[in-house]
Amino acid sequence: MSAPVSSPALGAESPVQTALGRVWGRSQSIIPTLAAVVLLIAMLVYAEIAYGRVFHAGTMSSLLVSFAPTIILAVGMTIVILSGGIDLSVGAVVAFTSVAGVMLMNIGINGWLSIFLMIGFGALFGLVSGILIQYFNVQPFIATLAMMFLARGLASILSTVPVQAPEDAPILLLGTDFKIIDGPKVNDLVLTPGFFIAVLVVLGAFFFLHRTRMGRTVYGIGGAESSAQLMGLPVARTRVWIYVLSGSLAGLAAVVYTAEVGGKAQNVTGIGWELDAIAAVVIGGTLLTGGAGYVLGSVVGSLVLASLWMIITKDGTIRPEYLTIITGGILLVFVLLQRVLTARRRR
C-alpha cells in the first residue's frame, strides 16, 4: 500500500526518467509546504529585524501557547480536507462545547468527566455531519454549515453571557504555566499542558495518517473516491470517522482554549476560527480538492498565521482591520499556487 506500484505504461520510459519524474511529481506536492516554511522564516526574520525580541523565549512561548487551539483545529481540518471535504462547524463547536462544559462544571458534575463530555459533544456534532454527508449525500460544506449554525445557536440558548468555571475545576490545571527554561528577566520559556496536548495531537495525527490503514484510506478517499471503493477500502465508515474526529478535536481545542483563558466560556468564542484552520491547512500545502498534503504543513500554516498576528500587534501602525484582508490575501495566494501546480501536473 505504502510504496507506489509502477504502472506498466511507465515501463516504456527509461528508469532514470521515471525516477526523475517521481522526484518532480513529489516535489510539486511539497512546493506549497516549502513555500510556507520559507514564508514563516522570512516573516520571523523580518519581525526580528524590524521590531526585535522575536527569537526570544518569552515571545515564542506566548506564540506557541496562544496558538495551541488553532493548531489542534488545523490538525482536524487537515484530515477532513485530505478526504476532499470541509468542516465549517469547528469554531461554533468550540463555542458550544466550552459553554456547555463550563456550565456542567458549575452544576457540580465532576471536572474530569465534564472535560470528557466536552470532547464527546464535539464528537456528536461531527457524527451528525458525517452521517449527513456519507449517508444522505449532503455536500460537506452545507452539512457542516448547518452544524455551525446549530452549535452557535445552542451555545446562545445555553447562555449569552460569559460563564466562569469554578476555581477548583481541574480544567484550570491545563492552563498552568510550566517554566521550561528560566531565562534572565522575562525571557523564560513557559509552556502549558495545553501546548503539550497540541503537540501530542500533531504526533498522533501524523502517526494516524501515515502509519495506519485508516489514514491511507483518508488519502484514498480524497484522491479518488471510486478507486478507493473499488479497492475495497471502508470508505463509508472512514468518512463518518473523519468528521467525528474533527468534531472531537474541536471539543479538545475548546478544552485547551477554556483552560488558557482561565475557565471563561462565551457563546461568541471561536467566530472565524474555521477560516483560520482552513487557511492554516491550505497555506501548509494540503490540496483543497483532497488527496495530497501533510499534517506538519498545517502546523507550519498555523505558525504563519501566528507570526502574522504577532507582526501586526508588534507593528502597531498596521490597523487590525487589515488582518482579515491580509489573511484572505495569503490564503488566496496559496490557493492560486496550488491551482497552478495541479494544473501543470494534470497536463
Binding site: L132, L150, R319, Y322
Partner: protein, 345 residues
C-alpha cells in the same frame, strides 16, 4: 383536484405553509399580532406584518443573487460581508457629501455602494470562472476579505450618517407597504424578466446541469459565471443598503453577519436544488419571506436572537434530508408498499 395536486408539488407551496404556521403560532400567543394600526407620530401604517416585510427586503436581495449562483452549481459565501461593504460605502459617502442636495447625495451613495459591490463580485467571478477555483473557497476568501474591507472603509468605526431620502428607503411607505419591500419586489420582477425573457436564465441552468455539454452547445461559461457572481454581489450590496437605511448606521462586524446561510436557506426552501441546474425566483422570494417570519417569530416567542441560527440549522437539515435520494427512495417505497396492500385488499 388536479390544481391542488400541482400546488402541493410546487416547492414554494410548503414555504407558504411554513409562513402560515409561524404566523398562526404568533397569533396564538398574541391574538392582536396581525393587526395593522396607524403610528400617531409618523402617520404611517404600522404592524408586525409590515415589519416582517421590511426586514425581508435584504434577505430577498441576497436570496435572489444566491439563486442564480446555486443554479450554476456554485455558492456565494461572501454575500453577508458584501452587505457590510455596501452599507459601509453608503454611510461613508453620505458622511463625506453631507450638506449637499440630499437626493443627489443619496444617489451618489447608492452608486458608490453598488459599484464597490460589483467590483468584489467581479473578483469572485474571475476567480471561479477564469482561474477555476472552487466557488466556495473563492467566496470564502472574499467573505474574509470583504469584512476587512468594510472595516477599512469606515476606519473600524460603526459609521452613522443623516440623509432624509436615504432613510426613507426602509422607513418610508409606498401604498402602505415598506418602500424597501416594494423596491425589492420591483428588482425581483425586473431580474426575472431578464432571466426568463432572454436566454440568460436558460444558459445559467445549462451550465449548472453540465458545463462541458453546454460549452459544446456553444454557451461560453465564463461570461455567464462572471455575470452571475457580479449580479449576486450587486444584489448583496443592495441588501446592505436596505439594512443600513433602517438605522442609518453600519455595524461593520454585525451588518450581514452570517446572512449567507439565510440566503442559502431561502433558496433551498424555494425548491432550488443545491446540485444546481434549475432555479425558481418565486420560490426563493417565498423562502426569504419565510426566514424573515422565522426571525421575527423566534424573537417574539422570547428566545434570544442569538439562538435563531439553531432553528435555521434544523430547518436546513430537514430540507436537505428531504432532497436526499435515500429519503426519497424510502418514501417512494412506503408509498409503493401501501398501494400494493390496497391492491391485495
Amino acid at each position: 383536484m388536479a390544481f391542488v395536486k400541482t400546488l402541493i408539488r410546487t416547492p414554494w407551496f410548503w414555504g407558504i405553509v411554513g409562513i402560515a404556521l409561524l404566523l398562526t403560532l404568533n397569533v396564538i400567543k398574541d391574538p392582536t399580532y396581525l393587526r395593522i394600526g396607524v403610528n400617531s407620530t409618523t402617520g404611517l401604517l404600522a404592524g408586525n406584518v409590515l415589519d416582517i416585510l421590511r426586514v425581508s427586503a435584504p434577505i430577498i436581495m441576497i436570496a435572489l443573487g444566491m439563486t442564480f449562483v446555486i443554479a450554476t452549481k456554485g455558492i456565494d459565501l461572501s454575500v453577508g460581508s458584501i452587505m457590510a461593504v455596501g452599507g459601509a460605502a453608503a454611510m461613508e459617502t453620505l458622511r463625506a457629501v453631507e450638506g449637499q442636495n440630499a437626493v443627489g447625495a443619496m444617489f451618489t451613495a447608492i452608486g458608490v455602494a453598488l459599484l464597490i459591490g460589483a467590483l468584489l463580485g467581479l473578483v469572485n467571478g474571475v476567480l471561479v470562472a477564469v482561474v477555476g477555483l472552487q466557488p466556495f473557497i473563492s467566496t470564502l476568501v472574499m467573505m474574509l476579505a470583504a469584512r476587512g474591507i468594510a472595516r477599512v472603509i469606515t476606519g473600524g468605526q460603526n459609521t452613522n450618517a443623516t440623509n432624509a431620502p436615504f432613510r426613507e428607503i426602509s422607513n418610508g411607505q409606498i401604498f402602505g407597504l415598506p418602500t424597501s419591500f416594494v423596491l425589492a419586489i420591483v428588482i425581483v420582477v425586473v431580474v426575472s424578466l431578464i432571466m426568463r425573457r432572454t436566454a440568460l436564465g436558460l444558459m445559467i441552468e445549462s451550465i449548472g446541469i453540465n458545463p462541458a455539454a453546454s460549452r459544446l452547445a456553444g454557451i461560453r461559461p465564463r461570461p455567464i459565471l462572471i455575470t452571475v457572481y457580479v449580479l449576486s454581489a450587486i444584489l448583496a450590496a443592495t441588501g446592505g443598503l436596505f439594512t443600513v437605511s433602517e438605522v442609518m448606521t453600519v455595524d461593520v462586524s454585525g451588518t450581514g453577519y452570517q446572512m449567507e446561510l439565510d440566503a442559502i436557506l431561502a433558496v433551498v426552501i424555494g425548491g432550488t436544488s443545491l446540485a444546481g441546474g434549475k432555479f425558481s425566483i418565486l420560490g426563493s422570494t417565498v423562502g426569504a419571506l419565510l426566514i424573515a417570519t422565522l426571525n421575527k417569530t423566534v424573537l417574539f416567542l422570547g428566545v434570544s436572537a442569538a439562538a435563531t441560527p439553531a432553528f435555521k440549522a434544523i430547518v436546513i437539515v430537514v430540507l436537505v434530508l428531504l432532497q436526499s435520494e435515500r429519503v426519497r427512495n424510502y418514501v417512494l417505497q412506503l408509498g409503493r408498499r401501501r398501494s400494493r396492500k390496497e391492491v391485495v385488499a
